[in-house]
Amino acid sequence: MLSIPFLACLVVFSIGAIATFYFTPVIANMMMKRGIFGIDVHKLDKPKIPEMCGLAILIGIAMSSAAALYISPEFSTELLAFLSVVFLSGLIGYVDDRQLLGPRLKPLLTALAGFPILLLGIFDPYPVLPIIGRTRLTIVYPLLIPLAIAVPANAVNMMDPLNGVMAGAGSIVTTVLLISSVFLGRWNAALLSAGLLGCLLAFYYYNRFPSKVFSGNVGSLTVGAALGAIVIIGRLEAIGVIAMIPHIMNAFYGLASVGRLFERREITVRPIKILKDGRLAASSDPKTPITLTRTILADGPKKEKDVVNIFLLLTCFSSILSLLTLLLMVIP
């Protein structure tokens, strides 16, 4: 480890950011040439946007992790577990982008992506919870690890409805994980968070409103699984769950209103409609799922950029709650 851990984090952050910043337009051009693009349905002119550019995040994570391994070889097992989880999830996302996995198969496969953490034993079954303190969950904890990867991976995947929401909200959550791991002196998680934050901020530059790139499932599943892995490796369980409340809200509303796992493409009546002036409005059709975007639009039409800002504001608030949770964890 470098004598100054902050410097190590800064180096890992910079490598992640530079790699993602460089590779995002390269991948975007490649995707457009191959005809892999999506339509931005929330714009009046329906522009074609290159899909699957989240591959750049995956490359950024790989390069920042390689730097972290060079700087801190003592964390090699944690880095191996982290990279295995992230790459397996990225692969599942890639297959989903190309072949469309079902609404049940995708969560199941992402749960299996959590197995490297179990196999390498990179977890502590004594999580510290707010107010309560250290708890002993030796039997239950290993059983929860596949869920701890599948839930954030699919929650982040579901919260990618508008330009910049996935990368923006992901950056805020990762910042909280970075602050918490530095505060608690968990430098393994701090290095991983710094690398992921660099990748997400660089990707946000291209993905923010109006988007020039889409992350695709490969990007969102990678980011969600990376967050889950950092939470387990850094023993930041409570902090991670609280920081991701908007993601959990979005997933919960969708599941509660549809009554089962579903894919966005299965929904025939869209929960959001675009007005002639370009603003977005919530559908009042009771058959469409209630999502966080639809809830934000419930009181009247809004510009897409304003809806995105509300998403980010909600994530900032959950981050403040999660930092309060951190204080409740350390107060004896």
Binding site: I245, M249, Y253, A298, L313, L314
Partner: protein, 82 residues
């Protein structure tokens, strides 16, 4: 920005529910011991602890859903009237 205020309140409810629920489960419910001895006592104590904890979690989720639905449909109706 009425919607932001309500969504922040719902987030606060979820946070308090998580923290309070965890405390209740780990500090109160898991301390319950039935005055029955032997294997039956162990089984019944375990069943009561798991049942009560699961019931509490379901109640919290149900309340959360009710609050969200009530807010959502009331707001949709109000915005349609305007």
């Amino acid at each position: 920005m009425n919607v932001v205020f309500w969504l922040l309140l719902i987030q606060l409810f979820v946070w308090l529910g998580l923290i309070g629920g965890l405390w209740l489960v780990l500090e109160v419910i898991l301390q319950i011991t039935l005055p029955v001895t032997g294997w039956l006592g162990t089984f019944l104590t375990g069943a009561v602890r798991i049942g009560t904890s699961a019931g509490l979690a379901v109640l919290w989720l149900w309340l959360w859903k009710k609050i969200e639905y009530a807010y959502f449909w009331r707001t949709i109706k109000k915005s349609r009237r305007n």
